[in-house]
């Protein structure tokens, strides 16, 4: 078991495609680190460099304190679980699991013992003589896990191992992988594009975009204190509402200009955040869907909205709201490139399953002033002091 350190690791494909751009990341011994991000963000390339399946263009990568840039995959002592499991089709489950040990010259007895132990952990004992094609998706996934754990490697590397499973099995295996990782206490780097997997499984989550690390933090810190508008918009389902708005002087301090409406910003944000001047470039204002609450009456801290769409999910309802102006029409807003667009400013709110809202209703909503987020309008960086 060992710690893993990416130190300014860069991968350039061809002449100028920077798949990973100066990634610096430390994974502690026994830690479950999740790399998450949209397709093409470089998370899988980072994992493959760690496995030794891709060369490193620049920077250094170390496992257990040893730089492994030029170490062959077989000598890195890491085990990898692939998205499509990559089980050896001509071998039985037991042979698949024991293959790496056999290559390393361990005795038959030793191999059988370790395979038996791993099979017991993964509840695969009854399937040891089967070939992969005679197994279900979940069983194949467990065999792939078993192949990794029998080796007692320094680190587990997992490349979207749950993405080929159906939704129910995915939830089960999510818990199973987390359980096994905690049981074995091996440093794990887990790649996924599913932010729910990232939030539920990782001790820490590293969010990547365009080859660059955006933020690495505990799941709750990522959710509560995103360092930029990309992380804010990526983590959470549904994602944070992000509205581009100008600031205006108000009686009690500063207010956000949202179409024809004004939303007072509590004075505490003037000290906790680097808010721009009122005549400045404006901000990207963020609020989570669960912080949008329906009010009976209009007040200084509420907005008038209209229900545009309603998505009932059983346990909750997602209500898509548009801001309306004084006449009840959709407010015309300005998009990021400065062009006037007819699309109304939309807010998504999470409401209880019994909320009797219907499409077309006009609602007064209060945005929880304790959980406002402000990001720089140009760079997207959080304006929170010390972020």
């Amino acid at each position: 078991m060992a710690e893993i350190t990416f130190d300014g690791v860069t991968k350039i494909f061809g002449d100028d495609i920077r798949a990973v751009d100066e990634l610096s990341l430390h994974v502690a011994d026994g830690e479950f680190m999740v790399l998450v991000g949209p397709s093409g963000c470089g998370k899988t390339t980072a994992l493959r460099m760690l496995a030794g399946l891709e060369d490193i263009t620049a920077g250094s990568l170390s496992i257990g304190g040893t730089v492994v840039n030029n170490v062959l995959p077989k000598d890195r002592d890491v085990a990898m679980v692939f998205q499509n499991y990559a089980l050896y089709p001509h071998m039985t489950v037991a042979q698949n699991m024991g293959f790496a040990l056999k290559i390393r010259g361990q005795s038959k007895g030793e191999v059988a013992k370790k395979v038996g132990e791993a099979a017991a952990i993964l509840r695969l004992t009854d399937y040891l003589d089967r070939r992969p094609k005679a197994l279900s998706g979940g069983q194949r996934q467990r065999v792939a896990m078993g192949r990794a754990i029998v080796r007692s490697p320094q680190a587990f590397l997992m490349d979207e191992p749950l993405s080929n499973l159906d939704a129910q099995l995915r939830v089960e295996m999510r818990l199973e992988i987390a359980r096994i990782q905690r049981l074995l206490g091996v440093a794990t780097v887990y790649v996924t594009h599913d932010q729910i997997e990232a939030m539920t499984m990782g001790d820490r989550v590293a969010v990547m975009r365009g080859g660059k690390l955006q933020q690495c933090d505990t799941p709750q810190d990522l959710y509560d204190h995103p360092k930029n508008d990309f992380v804010a918009g990526f983590m959470g389902s549904p994602p944070m509402n992000l509205l581009r708005a100008n600031l205006e002087s108000a009686d009690a301090g500063v207010a956000l200009v949202l179409g024809a409406q004004r939303l007072a910003i509590p004075s505490s944000y003037a000290t906790s955040h680097h808010l721009p001047r009122v005549d400045g470039p404006g901000v990207v204002f963020g609020v989570r869907p669960e912080d949008v609450e329906v009010r009976d009456v209009s007040s200084a801290d509420s907005l008038t909205t209209r229900v545009e769409r309603r998505e009932a999910l059983g346990a909750e309802i997602l209500v898509h709201l548009s801001l309306v102006d004084a006449e009840g029409d959709n407010a015309i807003v300005v998009n990021d490139s400065g062009a006037v667009v007819a699309r109304p400013t939309m807010l998504v709110a999470k409401m209880g399953p019994r909320s009797g809202v219907s499409v077309g209703d006009h609602l007064q909503v209060r945005l929880n002033p304790e959980h406002f987020h402000f990001f720089d309008a140009d760079s997207g960086l959080s304006l929170r002091r010390g972020a």
């Binding site: 990898m80 692939f82 499509n84 990559a86 050896y88």
Partner: protein, 290 residues
């Protein structure tokens, strides 16, 4: 005027749609079946003639009737059938071994490894399939003669291997492209090198491709006359096809003996084909369902 009432037909009574016309597909199947019979007869008739003729003596063949084992019993005294079959087997198996030993790693490299100019090199090798044997026969003969390899099996084996390798590289490359990269990568992370991955992971699942190359090359080499005739000049080492050609070219050729020899010559290729037919179909149609 009284209306004539007609009883409802059975189908109308059950309120069912009228029966459909017989599908034209059935007629097409009969036409296809008939055509296949014709083709089969055309293909099998020579074998029938060979079999019947070989079971006659020379005089019975000329008179058109009778039955005799004479041509079979006298065949070994006319040509050294055993030695020639052995020579064909040695040349055939050695050539195929070289073709597989070169084609498998080359196919693996072209399909799974990234290296400079790989596509160009692959195209150059595969384009060699389009060069007919006759076009390069004389230069090959000159080269092999200069190397002093035209006496025994070596020259012919090298020529057959050189002629068969481009096809095998093409087939293995195509086949291995269908093998997921992750399978190889899993093996490499597990502790294998590229040769280990080829030998222990890819080879066991490449049986259809190996069988396809083996069968097609076996048939081609076993049935070939030209290379054996030119490159194996020791009389004692000549393959069965050359032996039969010598027999056919004789001044007093016995047709029944020639037919008996032809059957011995054709039988191994047919048996190999029938034995590996299952793999052959799989090997040649691979990639179609992707």
């Amino acid at each position: 005027m009284m209306a004539v009432l007609t009883p409802p037909t059975e189908s109308e009574g059950r309120n069912e749609p009228p029966p459909l016309k017989k599908p034209p597909r059935k007629i097409g199947r009969w036409v296809l079946f008939g055509a296949m019979i014709v083709v089969a007869v055309v293909m099998l008739y020579p074998f029938f003639v060979m079999g019947v003729t070989s079971l006659k003596s020379e005089s019975q063949f000329l008179s058109g009737g009778g039955f005799s084992w004479l041509s079979w019993s006298s065949l070994t005294s006319v040509i050294p059938v055993g030695q020639e079959v052995l020579s064909s087997t040695i040349v055939c198996s050695s050539s195929i071994l070289i073709i597989l030993c070169v084609g498998l790693p080359a196919g693996f490299a072209f399909s799974k490894l990234r290296f400079r100019m790989s596509t160009v090199v692959f195209l150059v090798i595969v384009s060699a399939m389009m060069v007919p044997l006759q076009a390069i026969l004389m230069p090959e003969f000159v080269n092999v003669t200069k190397l002093g390899l035209t006496g025994g099996y070596t020259g012919a084996i090298l020529v057959y291997a050189a002629l068969g390798t481009p096809f095998s590289v093409f087939l293995f490359t195509t086949y291995f492209r269908g093998v997921p990269d992750e399978l190889i990568e899993a093996g490499i992370v597990d502790g294998l090198g590229y040769f280990g991955a080829l030998w222990r992971l890819v080879l066991p699942i490449a049986v259809p491709a190996i069988a396809t190359v083996t069968v097609l090359q076996f048939i081609q080499i076993w049935d070939d006359l030209l290379v054996g005739l030119l490159f194996i000049q020791n009389t004692s080492d000549r393959p069965i096809t050359v032996g039969l050609a010598v027999l056919a070219a004789g001044r007093t050729t016995s047709i029944p003996e020639l037919m008996a020899g032809s059957i011995i010559s054709a039988l191994p290729a047919m048996l190999v084909y029938l034995g590996f037919q299952r793999y052959l179909v799989k090997g040649l149609t691979m990639g179609i369902d992707r």
